[in-house]
Symmetry: C2
Subunit: 127 residues, 2 copies
């Protein structure tokens, strides 16, 4: 498939796909006219890349991790890297949970009837 189709299938922009290739994250063959062609599994690869981006990893880190995910590389170093990133994500989740708890406290306070919240207020906000 060509880049436009991959873009619509994955919901990622054409520009982003070209950027992924530039970063070495996504390979493509070229037609005689120079257009990129992708295999079907490129869709999953793009999803994976997006997932890792969403987890706060940088292009560089993803580039380092992908060979491990592809199971092409399996060294003590690569496993250490994998664990390091997993731990980083764990710490980030912990931070997010703390922020969430803090927000929940504020929400509980602001919604407690003792604090000026009327039934109609709540209902209006829900609408």
């Amino acid at each position: 498939m060509r880049i436009g189709e991959l873009a619509t299938k994955t919901g990622v922009s054409v520009r982003a796909l070209r950027y992924y290739e530039e970063q070495g994250l996504l390979a493509a063959t070229r037609s005689s006219g120079g257009q990129r062609h992708y295999l079907d599994d490129a869709v999953d690869r793009v999803y994976l890349i997006q997932m890792l981006y969403a987890a706060g990893l940088s292009s560089r880190t993803i580039l380092d991790l992908l060979p491990c995910v592809d199971a092409k590389v399996n060294t003590p170093q690569s496993r250490a890297m994998l664990r390091a990133e997993r731990d980083r994500i764990d710490r980030q989740i912990t931070q997010l949970r703390q922020a969430r708890e803090r927000l929940d406290e504020v929400i509980a306070l602001s919604e407690s009837p003792a604090n000026g919240c009327t039934r109609s207020d709540t209902d209006a906000a829900r609408a």
Copy 2:
């Protein structure tokens, strides 16, 4: 206290503190010579700001939320905003957990004895 002390106490740079003030997140009184002075509770305020930044909120969103946290504002709109941000954090946590699971799978594979991992490899990586 002055800005340098607040910076060392919170671990945040002086530049960042000035930026927070510029964004309306952190108030300070001024000495006759124009220097910023902070009360002790500014430390907690900075921690809170940092927590919300870490949760992926923008300066603008934090600016909107702080009056709610201070319980100075309590409208249906403000409560809706609080819930919206909490839900956004929840979704982000979910995404992070998915990424973490994915990484865990890869780690499990790379560490399975069937995949070329020897005991010494693991021990070396742990050191």
